[in-house]
């Protein structure tokens, strides 16, 4: 499968700040790729490099097989972008801005535009600042979804949208995927990412710390297990990958690295099991683990949170 976006070893500094410090990113054609990371991790910087608005200090980036800096204009015919904070011109109506962006991209599907305005319940005749934050986002979203492009780059596109509109947004993203378009979605809304994304990349301090499908990532983290045993537990604390073991009589609660789950279950079976609940890690836990520093102090904090 070809890649819509390939980034390797990207570096970008602003003065003394290293915004990107060897970032890697691979987005396959036709997938919805989640782009995650704490505030200030370098997500927007990466996106702006991919749009040719910033020039990387070093490293390689390819978008749809082209160089995002040198071929910016030709490339942008096939790319639609929605920023996280849409600023509009005070004296232009939302409809005018949608059409302008569409034409600057080389065309807009009129029927789709009308349908999207309907679905997002947007009043296209209002002007600039009379729109609320969520409605300004809708203007950019309608312009992006109504244009005929191969790649959508969405930078926290749903900030300010209400839950109903969030649902419309998710439906739109799925329609785009069904048409074979590629979507890079930067977001902090984890349910949205879980719902939409085929694969995710997590970055921290300008570096990619994890990349893969959600199932892959889940595998790398811990499962919570609570069991009521028939006999006293045996040697659980010596098993590899077991954390936060809490034994009260025949009741056992523990956390285990997901790939070490087998050994724990065997040990339970030896003692005899009366009841068993196993909770896969929530996305929040998954991300907290990646967002937080790997320093020992942070490890302790994470342990506390897991308990």
């Amino acid at each position: 499968m070809t890649n819509a976006i390939t980034v390797s070893g990207l570096h970008k500094s602003f003065g003394r700040t290293h915004a990107l410090d060897g970032l890697d990113l691979d987005v396959e054609t036709g997938e919805v790729h989640g782009f995650l990371g704490p505030n200030g991790a370098g997500k927007s910087t990466t996106i702006r490099v991919l749009l040719g608005l910033l020039r990387a200090d070093s490293g390689a980036a390819q978008v749809l097989g082209r160089d995002p800096w040198a071929d910016a204009v030709d490339l942008h015919r096939r790319v639609a972008y929605v920023p996280g904070d849409v600023t509009l011109w005070r004296n232009l109506s939302g409809g005018e801005v949608i059409d302008l962006y569409g034409r600057l991209r080389g065309g807009l599907d009129k029927a789709r535009r009308a349908e999207l305005i309907e679905r997002f319940e947007l009043d296209p005749t209002k002007k600039g600042r009379t729109y609320s934050k969520g409605n300004r986002q809708k203007v950019a979203l309608v312009a992006a979804f109504a244009s005929d492009v191969d790649l959508l780059i969405l930078d926290e596109p749903t900030s300010g949208l209400d839950p109903l509109m969030e649902e419309v947004f998710q439906a739109c993203v799925e329609e785009e995927r069904d048409r074979g378009r590629t979507i890079l979605l930067s977001s902090h809304i984890l349910s949205e990412v879980e719902e939409l994304c085929d694969r995710v990349s997590i970055i921290r301090k300008g570096r990619t710390v994890e990349s893969g499908s959600l199932a892959d990532l889940r595998h790398l983290t811990r499962t919570s297990v609570t069991a009521e045993l028939a006999g006293p537990p045996n040697g659980l604390s010596h098993l590899p990958g077991v954390h936060d073991l809490d034994v009260q009589g025949l009741r056992v609660r523990l956390q285990v690295d997901t790939d070490k789950l087998d050994a724990v279950l065997r040990s339970f079976a030896e003692s005899g099991v009366r009841s068993l609940t196993s909770t896969p890690p929530t996305l929040e836990e998954l991300f907290l683990r990646h967002y937080q520093d790997e320093a020992p102090a942070a490890e302790g904090a994470q342990g506390a949170m897991a308990r």
Binding site: R48, G52, V73, T87, R90, E96, D99, Y101, R129
Partner: protein, 538 residues
């Protein structure tokens, strides 16, 4: 209904001081934000006023020469319209006459900028919301803005009074208070206009238009009478200033006029501010079309700038008409004085004097056109730093095409307004239309050099682009008061306007005109090359 409104309107009065809570903090904050802008405005204005006595001593050394000047002014309606009537032949009185109106206009511009910047600008950008969510009274922002303007005008009045005190303390005080008074009248005027419009740009434009109208009223009144007694003069705050008659038996009873106008306009502004919500205005925004016709980045640039191009066009055309209408009279300066007529005839006759006047006026409009071109080019920086350029450039629009739209409006627009000024002269004066149009257009290479500097600065770093205002200001300063200050020629040569041929009347020189055009083109090219290479800023 009425009862409830009345109660709610009066309710805050019980906690009277709370309406103004935070004013002190906001005032300090405003003065801190303006720590560069205000001192520069004040220094330039004070320098202009305080350098005048020396210049006048050089031009009219003896009392007899000064008395002669006054006799000429009494018979010359055009010069009175430009500068105002003279009331005495002392150096102090002549200083007040020569710079009073212009220093006051400058103080008015400073005041309106300060007030709009700390009121409507803050609401438009959304900063006001955050500020008002703190321990800030409903009337505090407007009060802080007016106080900031009052501080600036107060310091200006103090400097002028102290600097001119050597020519007569009462007169110096009258000049200082009069100039600051005009400044505060326009500060409170801006406070009213800022309540009416939703856009800070429009608020500044409308207040500046009122200032222009005040200037025209005074000019019309002064051309009709030689003692400032016309009703038209009294309608203009600038006319009150000259009617103070500084250094000529001051009429202190004019001062309460300023106080009354300031208090009245201030009260109106507070009343309006109390009747509207934060960020809202009395001139509501109308809905726009649901479908857009804008197709290109160029069309967008024109759409964004067409309002200001229209405003500048009207202003330049009217200025041409007014100055054109005064041209005939300026040549009457010679009046009945047989001696003077002979001298002027030897210098090149009636037409020589007319041409000198025309060249001076057209040159002044050229300098002002440099402000237009800077404002227009800096729209690029505004679009970029506000984040509006980013989604445009994320479309299939190159940086060159994006900037080209704005640059065509900037550079083409400056040609348009100079052409319209020339047509205005043709309407007002009615003679020599061809040479006058040529003289207007010959200003353009110098205007474009200033525009080129702005393009280069924006290309290098959009945050530094504001320095283009400093360049335009310096050129304006050199053009207006440089010659009077006996500044060395090397400094005068720094301004591109100094190299232009003196038209009409002088010889057309293609050399400097073409050189300046080439310099402008080189600056624009360098600026665009730099823009293509650098990171976009948000």
């Amino acid at each position: 209904m009425t009862a409830t409104t009345a109660t709610s309107a009066y309710a805050p009065r019980t906690g009277g001081s709370r309406q103004l809570a935070g004013t002190g903090t906001l005032l300090r904050f405003a003065l801190r934000r303006d720590r560069v802008m205000l001192p520069v405005w004040i220094a330039v204005n004070a320098l202009m006023v305080l350098s005048m006595p020396n210049t006048l001593k050089g031009l009219y050394a003896t009392a007899a020469e000064r008395a002669d000047l006054i006799r000429q002014m009494e018979t010359n309606a055009s010069l009175r319209a430009l500068i105002g009537p003279v009331f005495d032949d002392s150096v102090g009185a002549l200083t007040a006459w020569r710079v009073g109106v212009y220093a006051a206009a400058l103080a008015a511009v400073m005041s309106l900028l300060v007030v709009v910047r700390h009121t409507r600008d803050e609401e438009e950008s959304g900063c006001q919301e955050m500020v008002s969510s703190g321990m800030v009274g409903r009337r505090a922002p407007l009060t802080a803005a007016l106080l900031a303007a009052a501080v600036a005008n107060g310091v200006l009045a103090l400097l002028i009074t102290a600097g001119l005190a050597g020519h007569g303390q009462a007169g110096a005080l009258a000049v200082g208070l009069g100039i600051a008074g005009v400044g505060m009248v326009f500060a409170t005027m801006a406070a009213i206009v800022a309540q009416l419009t939703e856009s800070a740009r429009l608020a500044r434009g409308l207040t500046a238009a009122v200032l222009g109208a005040a200037f025209v009223l005074r000019a019309a009144g002064d051309s009709a009478t030689d003692d400032g007694s016309s009703v038209l003069t009294w309608l203009s705050p600038l006319g009150w200033l000259e009617n103070l008659r500084a250094f000529a038996d001051e009429r202190w009873w004019v001062l309460p006029l300023f106080a009354a106008a300031i208090l009245l306009q201030g009260a109106v502004a507070y009343e309006l501010a109390g009747r509207r919500d934060v960020g809202m205005s009395f001139l509501p925004t109308r809905p726009g079309p649901a479908d857009g016709r804008l197709r290109t980045a160029g069309a967008l640039a024109w759409r964004l700038q067409r309002g200001s191009v229209l405003g500048w066009s009207i202003g330049f055309f009217l200025a041409g008409v007014v100055y054109g209408g005064l041209t005939e009279g300026a040549a009457d300066l010679v009046g009945d004085n047989a001696n003077a007529r002979e001298i002027f005839q030897r210098m090149g006759g009636q037409s020589g004097l007319t041409n000198t006047f025309l060249a001076a006026m057209i040159g002044m409009l050229g300098l002002i056109a440099a402000l237009y071109v800077v404002a227009s080019v800096l729209r690029l920086a505004g679009e970029e730093t506000s984040g509006r350029a980013e989604p445009v450039l994320a479309n299939a629009v190159g940086r060159l095409r994006w900037s080209a739209g704005h640059l065509v409006v900037a550079f083409g627009g400056s040609a348009l307004i100079m052409l319209l000024a020339g047509l205005g002269f043709a309407v007002g004066y009615g003679k020599e239309t061809g040479p006058i149009l040529g003289a207007c257009l010959v200003q353009l290479p110098a205007v474009w050099v200033i525009g080129g500097v702005a393009v280069l600065l924006h290309g290098l770093a959009p945050r530094a682009a504001m320095a283009a205002w400093a360049v335009a200001g310096a050129v304006l300063l050199i053009g207006w008061i440089g010659p009077a200050l006996n500044v060395p020629q090397t400094v005068l040569d720094l301004s591109p306007f100094g190299h232009l041929p003196k038209l009409p009347g002088g010889e057309m020189e293609w050399g400097p005109v073409l050189t300046l055009t080439a310099v402008a083109a080189a600056l624009v090219t360098a600026g665009l090359a730099a823009l293509r290479r650098r990171d976009l800023v948000t």
